[in-house]
Amino acid sequence: MPAARQTTEQVLELERYKHGFVTEIEQDFAPKGLSEATVRFISAKKDEPAWMLEWRLEAFRRWQALDEPAWARVDFPPIDYQDAYYYAAPTQKAGPKSLDEVDPELLATYAKLGIPLGEQAVLAGVEGAPRYAVDAVFDSVSVVTTFKKELAAVGVIFCPMSEAIREHGDLVRKYLGSVVPVSDNYFACLNSAVFSDGSFVYVPPGVRCPMELSTYFRINAAQSGQFERTLIIADKGAYVSYLEGCTAPMRDENQLHAAVVELVILDDAEIKYSTVQNWYPGDKDGKGGIYNFVTKRADCRGARSKVSWTQVETGSAVTWKYPSCVLRGDGSSGEFYSIAITNNRQQADTGTKMIHLGANTRSRIISKGISAGRSSNTYRGLVSAHPKAKGARNFTQCDSLLIGKRCAAHTTPYIEARNASAQFEHEATTTRLSDDQLFYAMQRGLSQEEAVQLLVNGFVKDVLQELPMEFAVEAQKLVAISLEGSVG
């Protein structure tokens, strides 16, 4: 290919994925490959107590006995787990105490990504400065967490997982692995052995968290995986809204991201968890991109507890992800709102599980899948009612939109009602973005791109409005960018 054209294409690609840059920074790595020594290396790096190391080693032993799952409707070459780094961290002395101590390169990275790490701006009353706390995770470590003091004043703990293990050991030990057991599945088990950083949140009884909490995950190092671990506990009557965002540089190789997120919700508490996932999706021919193999689960342990998952999934080469709700407490409820967009050669197999165990539990699923290019997009969902889940109710609406002629949408709902009083409703539609609608909008003056954006935004509106306000606008733009060039 002539150099000029190649350059043009690279520029176009960069235009499309604005977060694809690499930060030049000195980093520490674990020796390449995965062994007991790797697990010990990570644990030692994080200065963990003995019980945590034991927990990891046990997970590693179990992982070796497991096989990679093959049931999802995704297709990728075998992963060589020995050909990757399991720990990469910017070189620095002990964790920075304040923003002033954070490497300016890192601060510049987050500034470029539009992530507000400057709580001073907010505290100083700068107009327009968003007021939410951020935990910024760069490869395997958290580089800074904002608003910790202000949150601590009302008893909310918001800190990197590695800090929580050292300083809030009792809470972590009580809840870690209690929602997603160590050997729950292949990727969760791997995560349990080698997890690096993530966020820990504890909201004490009766406290309504005074601001949005968010974690921003960034993969930077080449040939490395990211294994974040997040644990959020809402004690009795507590409330917290949490958002995570993710991006990565553009690379020709595939990189693994295997996260575990556990939510524990006690009596009358509520967690609202939102995700805007924009990992590098690979180029238009399917080269490179992140393998996003994630286990997310909420345990509504207490009576009348509530959880809602909202996800906007636009990135990653392959997505394997089912944020689920275990509705254990009587009268508890779970919600799942999802927008999953695949373009070019992306593959997504995503959905949710609503497991009704308690009486009068309710759940609601709204899933909007959009496939374009030559991508494949599968909704996979389970709704089940245990014999004791008297009066359980679920409503599921599952809509697929196809753009173009070479993409695929699949819907695979599993429904199990093991008591006669459960009421489940399932509605599903599949439509193709209609040429007539496009022409109608274009006749009124919209360009083709604008027409597609408008129609798609209409399609996903029910889910977008579930996102916190600041992020809804961002997500709307992301939806548009993800579908650029999908028609015509």
Binding site: Q443, R444, G445, Q448, L455, G458, K461, D462
Partner: protein
């Protein structure tokens, strides 16, 4: 006076089948012309070819708006130049409030013409005034465009869009179909209010009834892909009395 819209020996086909066969038509600025004709004569095809709907192949002739070649432009560019089509079957746009749709369209056209976007308060004031004239409940404009609207509501919504977008040439494709007599009167009054010295209209209809309300300057008969007869408003009355057969014979 030179014509605003000039169609010259226009031929067009869809899937290899010729629909328009050397059609010529001129509409001077400020005039309202009606096109009548039997089913399958090519009335809707003419409106689609002029506005650029994909799938139609122009096989000969041309069309200009104010001297500018229309056929070389994309549909949205034609819209920005002032072409407007009131659809026979307006499309439903789920999840997009009518107001959002209308504002997006207006601003897209303004940007294309190098004009500033309209400010939100000005836009709302404009739409409130125009919708009141068409007896459209403003609350309805907060609902998804055309979703669950009755046939009459959809047609009134088309005229509202026309009133807001202020085109130079408006094509009304069977705007009377599906309207009861009251709705027909409201829609027609809306259209008549938009008559202006610098705006032309092409009214496509089956029936003379609409022309009692929207008085055309000229009436053309379209049969077998071309204009076979033209005349004053009385031509519509002749057609109503005698049917299209006589004119179909002229086309053969």
């Amino acid at each position: 006076m030179s014509a605003l819209l000039k169609v010259e020996k226009l031929s067009a086909a869809i899937d290899g089948k010729t629909i328009l066969d050397g059609l010529s038509l001129e509409i001077p600025a400020g005039e309202v012309h009606a096109i009548m004709g039997p089913n399958g004569a090519g009335k809707s095809t003419l409106s689609y070819v002029l506005t650029g709907k994909p799938g139609y192949e122009v096989t000969g002739g041309g069309a200009t708006l104010d001297g500018e070649d229309l056929l070389a432009l994309a549909p949205h560019e034609r819209a920005a130049k002032g072409m407007f089509l009131s659809f026979q079957y307006p499309l439903e746009i789920p999840g997009v409030p009518a107001l959002t749709f209308l504002r997006t369209a207006l601003n897209a056209q303004r940007r294309a013409r190098g004009e500033a976007e309209i400010a939100a308060p000005d836009f709302l004031r404009l739409v409130r005034a125009k919708s009141a004239a068409l007896k459209i409940d403003f609350e309805m404009l907060k609902r998804a465009l055309n979703v669950g609207f009755s046939g009459g509501e959809k047609k009134r919504m088309e005229i509202l869009q026309m009133a807001v977008l202020e085109p130079r040439l408006a094509i009304l494709d069977e705007t009377d179909s599906g309207l009861d007599i009251d709705a027909l009167r409201i829609v027609s009054e809306g259209v008549n209010a938009l008559r202006a010295p610098n705006r032309s209209m092409l009214v496509i209809t089956h029936y003379q009834r609409l022309l009692d309300y929207i008085r055309p300057d000229k009436v053309h008969v379209l049969a077998a892909g071309r204009i076979v007869a033209s005349g004053g408003p009385d031509l519509a009355l002749d057609l109503e009395r005698e049917g299209y057969d006589k004119f179909a014979a002229l086309a053969a």
